[in-house]
Symmetry: C2
Subunit: 341 residues, 2 copies
């Protein structure tokens, strides 16, 4: 019942320790039949490499890099905080975490930041970058050099990463649409949509899902032409104020950041009727809005959770496991007044 070691495997396979080592670490120079013997012995004994001992012996720890957009976005800030917390917690497991940032939405800066990642010094990198060709090819290069890549929160097309860790943004948009319609007494009228930038993959996906549901389930609702707030509170405020002045709104869907602006616009309105308001990310402004009944629902991708999950996957990838796709999916958290603290 004791945990089997390589010695047990060697005995079982009737080969030497050295051969077992060669097979387990794929060093080559082993006859096919010996490889077979070892593999069968591994199965029979139920051997699993002791990662503690392996790491100790290698004298190596895990070297992880997080590459995030710079800027003071509340989401990114809490992402960074979560990474710090988690990094602290896993130091005892020899995990070293390095957080770097590159200019938001600037793919040249992202490529430069990626170039600065030394494959020799890095086991795994979690990146939150644009899904554009130049970034993708740089990611592919890193992967080729042995760095495992996670795309975090915003996905990158397949050859650029090992696995995506984050929520399904199209589903997020669909949920927004569904709640939007169902929260209305009578779902007929106009809905304002404020995106950050439609160049951001996650924003575009949310919009797509949202429109889909509104069109099929609530045909009485008219989605106004999408506006872009560029995640900036003042611009968002201006857009919202203007739209509410223009015509009565039944609903507002804020896809991106800058929702402090939305909050102030809502406050300033003196209409008795308030549109159903749904937004993303549980920021301070979002909390305030929910508590004061100005916002109805927030769809949140829990940064702490994404980080925990990412870190766990990174460890497994660094230990040589293969990434099964579903592992990175992160359910969205729904917040309403009742569960926001």
């Amino acid at each position: 019942m004791e945990r089997p070691t390589i010695h047990d495997v060697a005995r079982e396979a009737q080969v030497s320790l050295a051969t077992v080592d060669r097979v387990l670490n794929a060093r080559g120079g082993v006859a096919a039949k010996s490889i077979d013997k070892v593999q069968r012995a591994v199965e029979k004994t139920g051997y699993v490499r002791d990662q503690f001992a392996a790491n100790l012996s290698r004298g190596r720890g895990y070297r992880f890099v997080f590459l995030l957009p710079a800027g003071q976005s509340s989401f990114v800030r809490s992402l960074i905080a979560a990474i710090g917390d988690e990094a602290q917690r896993v130091r005892k497991d020899r995990i070293n975490v390095d957080v770097r940032s590159s200019k938001t939405f600037d793919s040249a800066a992202q490529v430069a930041a990626l170039r600065r990642i030394d494959p020799e010094q890095t086991d795994c990198a979690a990146v939150m970058v644009s899904d554009v060709p130049e970034v993708r090819s740089e990611l592919a290069r890193l992967r080729g050099a042995g760095v495992r890549i996670l795309s975090l929160v915003s996905d990158v097309a397949a050859p650029g990463r090992d696995i995506y860790v984050g929520p399904d943004n199209e589903v997020a948009g669909r949920m927004a649409g569904s709640f939007m319609g169902r929260f209305m007494r009578n779902p007929i009228g106009s809905v304002l949509v404020i995106a950050g930038s439609l160049a951001a993959r996650d924003h575009a996906q949310r919009l797509f899902g949202f429109r889909q549901v509104i069109a099929s389930e609530f045909p009485g609702l008219n989605v106004l032409p999408v506006t872009e707030g560029f995640d900036d509170a003042r611009r968002v405020a201006a857009i919202a104020q203007q739209a509410m002045a223009d015509a009565p709104l039944m609903g507002v869907y804020a896809i991106g950041a800058g929702n402090a602006g939305l909050l102030s616009a809502m406050k300033n309105t003196n209409s008795a009727f308030r549109p159903v308001t749904i937004l993303h990310e549980l920021t301070d402004a979002a909390r305030k809005g929910l508590r004061s009944d100005l916002f109805d629902l927030v769809i949140d991708q829990d940064p702490a959770r994404a980080v925990t999950r990412a870190m766990s996957i990174m460890r497994d990838l660094a230990d040589g496991a293969t990434a099964d796709a579903g592992r990175g999916d992160i359910p969205l958290n729904i917040f309403i007044k009742e569960n926001v603290q």
Copy 2:
């Protein structure tokens, strides 16, 4: 920049390795000023015990026990499946997981199962048991014997456990209440509530939260006297069928399990109008109900997530960390038609 070891600490503190060891492992027999010197050296060097080496040296792994209610409840089954998955994943970290079960709702059986946990063989136990005095005192005994205790999914009062890992069930009930009211075009009428058993702490908490919100936010809704379905599909079906026959229902809130019964009752109804239906746990029946528009919303406590979180906390507790309360809180997952796959 290298990771500091006890040698570095010893040098920095100007004491011997043995003394550092005595301090770090609280073996006693060390002068106060030496303890102080070592602690300062630890701070200065940033030393963090290498858990790999420590475990290797101790020759010990982690021995965790999960104690769950027996029975074929879909939730418990997926909990068990999640434990199995996670156990597989962490074998490389020398974590051994033992899953045991005790009769549901039977506190005598729970106590017996707890007695069978050998403190010498167990570092940490995650238990899903009744919050009654005899169970609590047995848990306290185990804690006294050095076993760290997590209450899983359903909480146990403070002295019986180190930390609770699971959702806030009162909040869950409040959310159910809020969605219930908001999903109605005109929230006036009767709401049927089907609990499993009000002796179960989590069910009682959900009901409490639900009633609170309905009373304060939707005074037009009348919560009918609570029925108990004992998590049994046939009984739940009978209750629902009867209630729908008795009087028109605006809403149904199913607090417990057995919702395959609710599904069939809904199917069999030939009224054009369907009450807003909200339930807990994303079981197969719940999925079917959502897809076929018979159910409106499911509040799910993701078993896999609870297990992952529990396992991570168990490791930290076993490594000697103290449990900060908030760590075990697990957000609830909200499912509607749009995000159920």
